[in-house]
Amino acid sequence: MLLHPEVLAILLVNTLFFLFALIAFVLSVRIVLFYNADESTSLQYKLQKEGYLASTIIKFIFILKIPLFLFFVFTLDSLSNLITGAMCAAGVVDATVYGNYLFVLKILNLYLFAFWLMLHYRESKREVPRYTKEKYIFFLLLFILFMIEVAVEFLMFDAIELDKMVDCCGTLYSSTSASYISTLFHINTPLLLGLFYANGVLLLLFYRLKNRYFFALASALFFVSALLSLIAFFGTYIYELPTHHCPFCFLQKEYYYVGYLLYALLFTSTFYGVASTFTDEKRGMQYSLLYALIYMFIVSAYVLSYYFKTGVWL
């Protein structure tokens, strides 16, 4: 599978990331070991300069990681045409043992990179930086996670076999299958929906109260409840099919790529929500709330428009 052009492109960019992250890693280790803001030796000046390089590299990786992640999802989707049995990215993700871990790891890393940059931005606004060492210790952890991601990605693409039959999303996300996802469908829908909308109300409430810690907590919970309700309930309205629960199919052309919009809204909302613990600016919470509300509006609109069109609920 490695010779597929899209896969090659992803691996090439990953190699680039690997080399530059390695540079940033070495620099970070030096900073963590030797940095001392109270000294004014030439070493300290040098370290400070190297800090600029490290942060530029991390910024570079993050800025490219976002479109690359979209491209990755898009590639998985297009690979599903080539693999027997797969009808969307879900089949390709499930084709190897690595797929699911890689997906979770990728999303986690995106968040961590974004938080790192947020931290870095706050630091550079300060007169006297306070958390320089901590910042780079954070990066060292991030580096390890990132390296695991790069390695797992390579393993996954290497392991995909074109002539092996895989499951399609219809079986993976059906309520009869024995997977852990199917337990989700035993939670009754009103409860799930109640949680989802109650979470939305909580976001609004904490925003009014200006309590950013509770807001961040509510935002993280919102992410979970939104994902669960999307798979268990809202997805079926997007597909207009009561048995289809796939979280990947709506990334496809048939559904006007609406999945990209939904996930983008959800991810940015959660990012700003959780990140608002770091800052006392109100803007982060505003963005978070706005995106969450747009998300809620869109998924609810799918349900309502289905009801108006057909007169029944699914």
Binding site: L3, H4, P5, E6, L8, A9, I10, L12, V13, L16, F20, K49, Y52, L53, T56, I57, F60, L64, P67, L68, F71, F74, S78, N81, L82, T84, L117, M118, Y121, S124, L162, R283
Partner: protein
Amino acid sequence: MRNRINFYLLEYALHSLWRQKSKTLFIGLVLTLLIFLLSALFFIASSIKHELAQSVDALPEITVQKLQGGKHTNIPSSAVDTILSIHGVEDAIARVWGYYYFQKAGVPFVLVGVDPFEEQYKKSLQKIVDNYEISSQEQMLVGRGVYEIFKEHHYEESFNFIKSDGSLYTLPIAGVFTETIELESNDMIILSKQSAREIFAMDADMATDIVVKVANPEEIAMVASKIQLAFPDARIITKEALQISYANIIDYKSGVFLSLFIVSLFTFFMIIYDKLSGLSTQERREIGILKALGWKVELILKEKFYEAALLSFVSYLVGVSVALFYVYILHAPLLRNIFEGYSVLRSSFHLPFVLDFQTLALLFFLSIPLYVAASIIPSWRVATQEADEVMR
């Protein structure tokens, strides 16, 4: 996190690029050339993929071939009746076709036998048979490419096929067809099944293979397995399998090209890195003055990033547009030989215009990150120079 575009800085970056004309021009040209080569390759690949997908789309759902000792041989026409008795089969047609190698020109033709009163297995073929009526059994219709070859060898009215026993078999040309997908019809000759059997020295009750139409796509796999049961020695090819293997061939070809191309990508990286590292005294002075004026390191880095982004964006646009011109207007001389076979006749197909987001994104990830990455360390070197050292 809120990075708005600073237009004054953008303007400064533009002027800065302009001040170092020769350097900018050199890097821009190399980058443009790189993007051009890559995009031309992928445009050709996606066009061919599109064309192949279209021609496969027109095929019936299942093709049945008989194997003997692992090799494809003729199948008795009577197998059609057995296949027709399977539930879910809409129609089964015995095909008579094959290749005829025209030695003088060194070109193989595809001979397709048709029965004018039978329903054809493909719409495009049906159209040809309807439009150009073959008045008698002893006539043939030829594709444009075939006709050119015939004319070159002075066969303007008829053509002499050499049969397997060495005797000649003459068929008059009834017409030249130009319709349908060029990739498949350019080297095609349509004649009656009877004539085709005569030329291939086949028995009257034999066929090359059998195509099966299945109305419900859900049933294809089931029908295929039933045919396999009835004919254990047959090779059953479904349309889907064919589509996948075609797509794989094209992907594989561009993948091999790309993996070889990685060497040049790496070279490109080194060139850019080297070129950007060499700073003129003029540039050093400039940075020194900026720093003395109170610009922070971040700001200079940002300005350098703007320069890189501007340059790569323009190169990307130019590279892609030149490639579009090269592939779809000039029809990609030289490069398309990678994808098509070695046959003389096949080379005259045209490339349908296909431009999708996926290809553009692929091009982006193969070129821009490389350039920006190569510029990181040189930019950082520039930005962290001490003002007093530089201006001294």
